[in-house]
Symmetry: C2
Subunit: 367 residues, 2 copies
């Protein structure tokens, strides 16, 4: 079977018919499950402001997100022979991944000082805004740290509902544990990169591998697969598909962070640049810029006072040095490798088609 | 059986013979287990600074702490009929509680901006100090958030080693889950208290109940008990013992935070006051201070520039208003209630004796 014979044409599959319907159904079940689960978490103390914190967390989890990880978990399960309507475990596990991710994003925004997330105030910002006290910002950050911790603890509880009691569940849990250590370590490497001189392409790619490729794609797929008793060969195939797709996905994200339309991405387009995010895109720009261009990059990248004019200058340098072209080429290369990996016969054909459609969506998206 | 007949004399039991020997043995096993477990966690990326972060976390966990929760977990297990040398589950679970607690303390220090912990630089401070970069403080805080999250994720993995596979383990896990939600919610209420006018005795007592009484005493005892198949009656008895002891323990901590000897406590004595910690002690002082005394409290309590002279003034007000006396009375009352609760026949006699000795230690300690 070649990539062509698994019928990866997006037009046929992703916009209409089976894939879109299943995708929407999975999203709906995950959302419903998360809403119900969070509604059941009542604060142990009767304080209106504590209740408000719980409510904010619920809104954050239920009110947004592309549900990429639950979808990958679901298709990983289907690809390993998981069949509807026998059990809900892949959906519950997907919801747990989403809840874990919410906690991670809340912390991420605290660490980065990001003011917006999903087009709305980030949790720490929202909490700070609600208070008129002088220490409002400190309160917002601390409360967000706690709510992030709470989300991750609850993710654990939700995951246990799907993974307790048998060998498959234990295998899934084991992969989940690995994933947690990997993503936190990837984030650690990411903040370390900020303390180092300039950006380095190799290092930025390592960060991507752990923070995104494994965390967002490979592990969710494998976790879903493990729930359906995936063979080691299938888990390997998921890895060969997931790592390049995850890399391409993050590279697209980095491009959108600089060149995207904030009205579509829901994210202020100056944030990544102001924050001095050490992306692969910027690493290429640094590596290729010479003389005054390099000086301009150093001056503007990571400058809290960066304005639209400075951002336009950086964008121009990224284009002129060929960094953007390099990254677009890399995205296309990795997307191709991912599609190629789907030829593996270990992956059930229907799942392979869905994953091919997802690959298109995730690497060509505009938000 | 009365409290007297269970032989609660500290002299006989806590300093020599059975209790001290068992206490030391349990501490030793917990420490050994934590060291081994953490040595096995290898960073998934080969970066020396990531390895250094892992090492710092290991030192923090292994290098200090009174191991109160593991001891309570152990005695909760023994009190429910758990017998040596049949299994290690109470010790493994105790180690998991300690690892979870390390994560919580790391986050606590970030939230409070505390510079010292256990007589050494707090994790975020240590990490900031290691970097010469301009953003060192931001790096330290972010890295500490991540290491705290990592410690809590690993605590989960360690706990699973002791709680997977049977009804008792599930009961223990269920209590652990409740404990996590309770303590995080208690912390949330605590930081909310900072945003509110003055301190309020009732609110401060609620914070203590969740942040300490349940978290430090009641739940560890019950978790240990559950591992040995404790009856609902025994779990209730642990609650009747644990809640007053936990309250007394925290009240003692608050008194030491203002009146303790930093050379003994390992904690700068001005921290609690500078931070404006809303303790029960301070709430009593606020409630009783009038006119200029109240003004002085408001001016100094929570002032970043508080010096030894200002602290001496606050201490004097705490003594003069009778707030200190009130808290000492409350500690004695709660310690008595805890001892009284140990008369319950559901608790195995040897464990009751050990818990009585622990009560003395935790409420009369100087550090």
């Amino acid at each position: 079977m070649t990539a062509d014979t698994v019928d990866t044409s997006v037009e046929d599959f992703s916009e209409t018919g089976g894939f879109a319907a299943v995708t929407n159904a999975v999203r709906g079940r995950v959302d419903e499950l998360l809403a119900r689960f969070l509604d059941e978490r009542r604060p142990p103390v009767g304080d209106p402001d504590v209740a408000e914190g719980y409510r904010l967390l619920r809104e954050f989890v239920v009110g947004g997100g592309k549900r990429i990880r639950p979808l990958l978990c679901y298709w990983g399960w289907r690809g390993a022979g998981g069949e509807e309507p026998y059990d809900d475990r892949a959906v519950i596990t997907g919801a747990a991944l989403e809840l874990y991710h919410a906690g991670l994003l809340i912390h991420d925004d605290v660490m980065d000082g990001s003011e917006l997330r999903r087009g709305r105030p980030s949790i720490h910002k929202g909490l700070a805004g609600a208070s008129r006290w002088a220490g409002a910002e400190t309160f917002g950050r601390s409360a967000a740290i706690l709510l992030g911790v709470l989300a991750q603890a609850w993710a654990d509880e939700l995951l246990a509902e799907a993974t307790t009691g048998d060998v498959r569940g234990r295998a899934a849990r084991e992969l989940f544990n690995r994933m947690r250590t990997e993503v936190v370590t990837g984030q650690y490497l990411d903040i370390l990169a900020h303390t180092r001189m300039d950006a380095d392409v190799e290092q930025a790619l390592t960060v991507i591998r752990y923070k995104t490729a494994r965390y967002t794609v490979e592990r969710p797929l494998q976790i879903g697969g493990a729930l359906a008793g995936a063979s080691p060969e299938l888990l390997e195939a998921y890895s060969r598909f997931g790592l390049p797709l995850g890399e391409a996905f993050q590279l697209r994200d980095d491009v959108l962070g600089v060149f995207g339309d904030p009205a579509v991405t829901g994210k202020p387009v100056l944030d990544d640049l102001r924050e001095g995010k050490r992306t692969v895109l910027m690493a290429y720009a640094y590596a290729r810029a010479r003389g005054p261009e390099r000086e301009r990059l150093r001056a503007w990248h990571g400058a809290p006072g960066l304005d639209e004019r400075g951002a336009a200058e950086i964008r121009q340098i990224i284009v002129d040095t060929g960094a953007l072209g390099e990254v677009e080429d890399l995205i296309a290369l990795r997307a191709g490798q991912a599609i190629e990996a789907l030829r593996d016969r270990a992956i059930a054909p229907e799942a392979a088609r869905a994953l091919a459609a997802l690959t298109e969506r995730l690497t060509r998206r505009v938000r």
